[in-house]
């Protein structure tokens, strides 16, 4: 294959690293799936008892378990599942729908929320971070830094409830339920998503902005910036032309972590605003012990972290090729 030949020739170091990292990523996914499967197996009860609830007489439970193959020992069930997953077949959810049917629409909703938030949050965070670094220790920096410190210190559900109280319950500007449905127009979609987007902005903006500021200030203390200053370069040009390219690595990695959080970590926000995203799906599936759905969600979450971190690393290396040769 071409991939291997390039790898062997070593002429494309970035491709080389990417292939290597993807391989490690797949290994991590396998480990994650094994851990999740084992953990869910150790939880008391199973899908049969969860669904039957108060009608769970022993014989009905036994019939249900047989129907779903839950009467087999869990290591065997894991091997069966892994066999399917390797060829891209994640199988049926225990509620007899395809896992992809269960997860698909929810994943699309989560990605829509993450993308909308990211489109606003990332440029804004980088811009504010630059402003803070440029006007370090000036009033604007002090104000933004303490405001973001405050918002980062508050738990997300608290921010969510405060926003809901003020903007939905008291002022009636936005709806308290982000219940989006297929067939809604884009405008209505965005209107319904307003409060979750705002909540996520508060949470992610602060983290990204503070790291941008810190990374820039770190670079700004280097001698070559002093040199640029002595040459008489304008301060804004120093920040943008000389400091920013060298600070892109750490900025990219903190952005990657926040984007992954927007996909995998927003379950609390989804629950508070009743947003039909994938986090709620996973919580629901764990409660009902719907293992195939739990596994698929876990793999999506892990894959999001692995891929986004890989992209961040590639960006760092492209912006600073010295990173390819660790000392």
């Amino acid at each position: 294959m071409t991939g291997t030949s390039i790898l062997a020739s070593g002429s494309h170091p970035i491709l080389n690293m990417t292939v290597q990292r993807l391989g490690l990523g797949l290994l991590s996914l396998a480990i994650v799936s094994a851990i999740i499967f084992t953990a869910v197996s150790f939880l008391p009860g199973d899908f049969a008892t969860a669904i039957l609830g108060r009608s769970a007489t022993p014989e009905t439970v036994a019939a249900f378990q047989q129907k779903l193959g839950l009467d087999k020992p869990w290591p065997q069930r894991y091997v069966d599942w892994l066999g399917g997953a390797l060829v891209g077949d994640f199988g049926d959810s225990f509620s007899s729908r395809l896992v992809s049917t269960v997860i698909g629409p929810r994943l699309a909703n989560t990605l829509a929320l993450a993308a909308t938030t990211a489109v606003i949050a990332v440029p804004l965070a980088v811009f504010l971070g630059i402003v803070c670094a440029r006007y370090r220790n000036k009033p604007v920096d002090r104000f933004l830094s303490s405001a973001t410190l405050a918002s980062i210190s508050l738990p997300e559900f608290f921010i969510a409830y405060v926003l809901m109280l003020v903007l939905a319950t008291k002022l009636h500007i936005f709806p308290s339920l982000s219940s989006i449905r297929p067939g809604m127009g884009l405008g209505e979609h965005l209107y319904r998503m307003a409060l979750p987007i705002m909540t996520l902005l508060f949470v992610t903006l602060a983290h990204m902005m503070r790291n941008t500021r810190a990374a820039l200030i770190g670079v700004m203390s280097r001698p070559y910036i002093e040199m640029a200053r002595l040459k008489g370069e304008p301060e804004m040009r120093i920040v943008l032309r000389h400091a920013l390219p060298n600070a892109i690595g750490p900025i990219a990695s903190v952005i990657a972590i926040n984007l992954a959080y927007l996909i995998a970590g927003v379950v609390v926000v989804e629950v508070v605003f009743v947003y039909p995203g994938i986090g709620q799906t996973m919580v629901d599936a764990v409660r009902n012990r719907d293992v195939p759905v739990v596994q698929a969600c876990a793999l999506i979450f892990s894959a999001a972290y692995i891929v986004l971190n890989l992209i961040a690393d590639i960006i760092s290396i492209v912006s600073n090729p010295r990173l390819l040769h660790p000392r």
Binding site: L43, G45, L52, T169, L177, R181, V274, Q280, D284
Partner: protein, 536 residues
């Protein structure tokens, strides 16, 4: 209304809530006071609605218990979201539990027993069609029951139907159930939400996947764990019903989100309202709190097959050592009705209040302990928040109450997860949350008969079991009533159950919604709120 009348009304409302008077008595008193004052509907909206239903409107119901794993399969439906949407709106049963708890025909226009209640004959109403236009036939009914029966069945109604031997067609409009033994309550059992009638498939089985029923609403859209949207069935078999044009069941799991959705008018109804938020709703003049007496009750169950609970005097001492009023006041904020050590709720047919009411009495508790030959007693009580909401607080209060009578209760805090697998039915003294059953026979057969699979008290009283069998096939109502009276007295005097309290379904209902008396045997007006309620 004058202050004195208002106070009197509040007094009666409070008595009603605490269970001191019946709902009918309250209605009478409230109506008398309201007539005297010329007002009153604003005070007790849920009880005094008497206006004519109006047609039209779009009602949204915020439900606490939807799940991503919900399906249209009537063998599952674990919680009120699926039950009220798919049984109560999409489908019908042969019979229906009316708001007052009585049993009436639904798809069956009449039903009668034969052969000592070993045979039940249901006459099917004429001209009923499914939502796709197909006519209802006896075949559909047979297959809808067969869906839950047989060894391979994984349905929640499997054990309920284990007594059914065969289901025969007798002409185009009659279906006959042959039972293994006489069951006078059979019409109640076929009202169970699992036993919805769905269209039969060619070659056997039912076609539940398409979501077609005979019910008051036609399924438009079902997103599991998110929402169910339905529109009015214009060909429904009940006059003028349903009243709404459209309904939507919205899944809102988070209690605060549910409350906010209700307050901001996103939904007109919310289930499972937290008692701590009642005052917040009651301050708002557009919203009302519905307190619907239910069958749900919280108990501390003693294993009567192990020491020291095998001694009836020890059981009696423990029954007298609990201050139920104190627990209701402190743990349930007054929103519960005092239990009297039977599992039978006052809305159920053949309810009887055994005497004396078991109240907190340190002297009696000590006396019974002495009668058992003990001066003090050390026992473990296993509870968790999963046992019932407030179980740990109730158990700790019980410990304080019982200590005065020389009974040392060690409250063992068990894990929430797995409580029903590892503690319930297994530990000798545990807390339990019972949803109840519509009839005495069903309730006793599930949890108090000697061979019941959920006999948490491991109680085997010969006289009780003898009466249970006798009453099951007794079709003389007087005779049956006296048998059930005696059984309730026996449980009260000898059983291993300490009933702390019965609780209400506490729900939020917007004043935009009109409704009559609300049934509490099942949640959501016996699951039929969509066809019974209207836009006021």
């Amino acid at each position: 209304m004058s202050d004195a009348r208002l106070r009197e009304m509040q007094f009666w409302a409070e008595r009603l809530r605490k269970g001191g008077i019946s709902r009918r008595e309250f209605l009478g008193r409230a109506a008398a006071l309201a007539a005297a004052a010329g007002v009153g509907s604003s005070l007790t909206p849920s009880l005094l609605h008497a206006e004519e239903p109006k047609q039209g409107g779009y009602a949204r119901f915020g439900m606490s218990d939807a799940s991503q794993q919900d399906t249209l399969d009537p063998g599952t439906w674990p919680a009120s979201f699926a039950q009220a949407a798919f049984n109560g709106s999409l489908c019908n049963n042969l019979t229906e539990i009316a708001a007052d708890g009585s049993i009436i025909g639904d798809l069956a226009e009449s039903f009668e027993p034969a052969d000592g209640a070993r045979k039940w004959i249901f006459k099917i109403r004429n001209g009923i069609t499914f939502h796709d236009g197909k006519s209802l036939t006896v075949k559909d009914i047979q297959e809808s029951f067969h869906h839950h029966m047989g060894d391979a069945s994984s349905s929640g109604a499997k054990s309920l139907l284990s007594q059914v031997e065969t289901i025969e067609a007798d002409g185009p409009n009659t279906v006959v159930f042959n039972l293994k033994s006489g069951t006078a309550d059979f019409p109640y059992l076929v009202a169970d939400y699992h036993l919805s009638i769905m269209p039969a498939k060619e070659g056997g089985g039912i076609d539940w996947q398409r979501g077609v029923g005979t019910g008051s609403f036609i399924l438009e859209n079902f997103e599991p764990g998110i929402a169910v949207k339905m529109k009015r069935n214009p060909n429904y078999h009940k006059d003028n019903k349903p009243h709404f044009d459209e309904v939507e069941f919205v899944a809102i799991m988070d209690a605060t989100a549910r409350l906010n959705a209700f307050i901001t008018g996103e939904v007109e109804f919310i289930g499972d309202l937290d008692v701590n938020n009642i005052a917040l709703i009651e301050r708002n003049s557009d919203l009302a709190v519905g307190r619907i007496p239910s069958l749900r009750h919280f108990t501390f169950d003693m294993d009567t097959s192990t020491a020291p609970f095998d001694n009836p005097d020890v059981r009696m001492a423990l029954k007298y050592a609990l201050d139920r009023d104190d627990v209701i006041r402190k743990v349930f904020r007054g929103e519960a009705i005092k239990g009297n050590d039977t599992p039978v709720a006052s809305e159920m047919p053949f309810y009887f209040d055994p005497q004396p009411q078991h109240d907190y009495d340190v002297d009696k508790a000590k006396a019974y302990l002495a009668k058992a030959g003990l001066s003090s007693l050390d026992i473990d009580l296993s509870v968790s928040e999963a046992a019932f909401p407030g179980a740990i607080a109730a158990a700790v209060l019980y410990k304080e109450h019982a200590a005065k009578a020389g009974i040392n209760i060690n409250v063992v805090r068990e894990a929430d997860d797995g409580y029903w697998e590892n503690v319930w039915l297994k530990k000798p003294f545990n807390g339990c949350d019972w949803y109840g059953r519509a009839t005495c026979d069903w309730l006793f057969s599930t949890a108090y008969a000697a061979d019941a699979s959920w006999n948490n008290t491991h109680w085997k009283n010969p006289r009780f079991n003898e009466l249970l069998i006798a009453a099951r096939s007794e079709t003389d109502q007087e005779q049956r009533a006296s048998q059930y009276r005696e059984m309730q007295q026996i449980i009260h005097d000898d059983g291993g159950v300490i009933t702390v309290a019965f609780v209400n379904w506490i729900v939020g209902i917007s004043k935009k919604i009109g409704h009559g008396e609300i049934g509490g045997i099942f949640p959501c007006d016996n699951l039929r709120m969509t066809e019974r309620w209207w836009m006021a």
